[in-house]
Assembly symmetry: C2
């Protein structure tokens, strides 16, 4: 006999987890599609050379890389960004630009498994490729605002910044060449605190005066978005990045959602491929949740694979983190993960019409399970309860269905299944209510 | 620069293909859920030992097998059946039996790529684990009937048989030990024809009289399901498999769908793990499509991983084949793959309200793309047409939207976007119509 074990860092998804995950991805997909974003997919396995790109990063060591049966040097994708760059370069002729795509798929990283870190997990990316202007930046931010609103986790803020700000600051301090180091260090602010950042900056060879200056700048509270813009303008004049931020803000105002956006100079995003707008999100009532949507503008994504310049702006949703947050607040997205609404029991009186009863309910749009094993009623109830099934049809006598509510343990009698469905607000009716609730924005 | 090439046998999924694929899987998932089946997922990478099982099959050579960074002998799953067996054994305590699950996921096989054969493809499996009776067999068949009906590819037949039939026949001919060979050979009937099968049987060491006898038996037309049962009973008496088939048939009759099921002794399914019911499907108007749903009963699936006996019955849907068929008949599932219903153009008059216009439409449930690049109207129209977007909002003057239909090239004027949505039967209204059409069974 073989032990049915799985690899460390990998997970089986149990039905209730998988129902919640699919419901969440269904919800965000619906929003992506409403915004005219289209889905794509790429191979899980690619040439290692293609996935490595210029290489040298942390990810190289974590990549699942091996020789296939034809001795080709291949690897499993470790993110959806590199495959996107390769995909856009390879399919340039077949795509319409600006290309708005989303991609929800698994990626693999052989990193040390630890709490909350897995070797196989989902990423959910969305990007606009092929335009560099405030309209595309704002479109991504509006999409994020819609997603976060729909999640129902309460008030949130999208903290926005621009790579140009820090560049201008470092230039004014005469240390422009330290840009990449400073970005990476400031990105750790949440983890190591402002004194930690200041120390790290000094360790990176920045004078203590400059380090102090940088920290004071990025952690200053500049009030509203327009106030922060005024401050930047005073300090840096009429720089391009200030006009871009102003334009983005005015679009957000035009759709009445500017209040949830703040300009936060401490947002840098560690990765060095961002070139303009950068952002993170936070839930006001659940600060521990961390950023659910982070991202920004990158203007040389496809440079490795094609000579055409294809600027982009995009973001990703942390599905696992979001699922955990939704579970914590007992959201309907993760909460009602019942396998079905109704179960038709396997009893003598029901036997001749069991399948017909189930099919009638299914045709009414009601999720209906038919108990198919030969077990006593105790076992059948236990099954219904474990599966979160609220109603059990227990018998059919003299043209009447006996239907038991597993929550209240009360029974009712019905001659007509449609009548029961209406009384229990199940099926098409409820289905629509659920949809409308989902649709409400 | 790196050439953005992908591995042979792998595919990029372009937006229109991906939209169609997701719409199809959404459709079948909805049916699975209506039947009380729940989704699961398993790791793409598992211990090679676990995936190989007892091994020795064709699949071993095709497996993507390698050493991970920790020198573990691992492999990518090559089907969803072996992972199901491992999953059920590993999670037995957390699952409710009978366990009805579906699993739609990618699998990988390093076989020689050829037309229509890929090294990475989706499988879509659904099974009931934990009961061995006619009720579970019939439940799977009713589910398949519902799926095929919903596809709208016209009349179809589910061709059913039972492994017991051929066993009984071979026993009566005194060649019971040839069972596995005979199953495998008869499974090729569609490919090599009856004379080919007869030859192959003789090559396998069966006398020409017996071979002829077998062929005559499996290719005889026994009329209706009840007629075929009578024939079997005359020949083999009151065997268990006859009672099982009869019971299944009576359940199908009780729900009024027995007409689409025929008893066809030539259905064997090549794989040796089936132990009872076996079936395939065919579309009467599109015989070239082949079987979309095949499967059967296997009573020792988990035997390799646990001592508990867990009988099962299940099937899979050939998604790629089904997609091709739907495309051929220009089904709405694969046909309307537009990225959005409406595009808001980027023009001077619209600029101040473009995002607000888009958001209003999106809140009405209308898929709305906002053109974000700085290009002339010609390029913007081309974009809308390439993306299959029917309406383009081109200007906003004196409180009136000009809206162009890209199919008829006609323009209309609206002051109210909700009025336009109603006139164009878009959004919530249409959404519901589409849903109801989908719901109709």
């Amino acid at each position: 006999m073989i032990e049915p074990k799985i690899l460390k860092g990998f997970r089986d998804s149990l039905p209730r987890q998988e129902i919640a995950r699919r419901r969440l991805t269904g919800k965000v997909e619906r929003i992506f599609r409403l915004f005219g974003f289209v889905p794509i997919d790429t191979p899980a396995i690619e040439y290692a050379e293609v996935l490595l790109g210029k290489g040298g990063g942390e990810t190289d060591k974590q990549m699942y890389r091996f020789r296939d049966n034809g001795e080709r040097d291949v690897a499993l994708r470790f993110d959806l960004t590199v495959p996107l760059a390769r995909y856009v370069a390879a399919n340039q002729q077949s795509l319409c630009f600006p290309f708005k795509r989303y991609h929800i798929a698994k990626v693999w990283r052989g990193e040390k498994p630890q709490k909350g870190r897995f070797r196989e997990f989902y990423q959910c990316d969305f990007d606009i490729i092929g335009s560099d202007n405030a309209a595309s930046d704002a479109e991504i931010l509006i999409l994020i605002h819609t997603c976060l609103t729909e999640m129902g986790i309460g008030s949130f803020r999208v903290r926005v910044s621009h790579r140009g700000i820090l560049s201008a600051l470092l230039e004014s301090l005469g240390i422009a060449e330290k840009n990449a180091d400073v970005l990476r260090i400031i990105d750790k602010l949440g983890k190591i605190g402002s004194s930690g950042v200041e120390e790290a900056l000094i360790e990176a060879g920045i004078s203590s005066a400059a380090a102090h200056n940088i920290m004071a700048f990025v952690s200053s509270d500049n009030g509203t978005f327009p106030n922060a813009i005024s401050m930047l303008r005073e300090k840096f004049g009429d720089a391009d990045f200030i006009c871009r931020l102003e334009e983005i803000h005015s679009i957000l105002e035009s759709v009445g959602i500017a209040d949830e956006f703040i300009l936060d100079m401490s947002i840098t995003r560690g990765l060095d491929y961002y070139t303009g707008l950068v952002f993170e999100t936070s839930f006001l009532d659940y600060p521990s949740v961390g950023s659910i949507c982070s991202g920004g503008r990158y203007n040389n994504l496809t440079g490795l694979y094609t000579r055409d310049s294809l600027p982009g702006v995009g973001s990703c949703i942390g599905l696992d983190r979001l699922l955990a947050a939704l579970e914590e607040i007992k959201s309907p997205v993760t909460n009602n993960t019942s396998a079905a609404d109704v179960m038709v029991a396997r009893t003598e009186s029901l036997a001749p019409i069991a399948e017909k009863t189930a099919l009638t309910l299914r045709r009414l749009g009601i999720k209906t399970d038919m108990y198919v094993a030969d077990r006593n009623m105790g076992r059948q109830y236990a099954y219904a309860e474990s599966n979160g099934i609220k109603y059990v049809i227990t018998s059919y006598v003299d043209g009447k269905y006996q239907i038991k509510n597993t929550e209240t343990r009360e029974s009712s009698e019905y001659t007509d299944l449609a009548e029961f469905a209406a009384a229990a607000t199940l099926g098409a009716a409820t289905g629509q209510t659920e949809r409308q609730q989902t649709d409400k924005r």
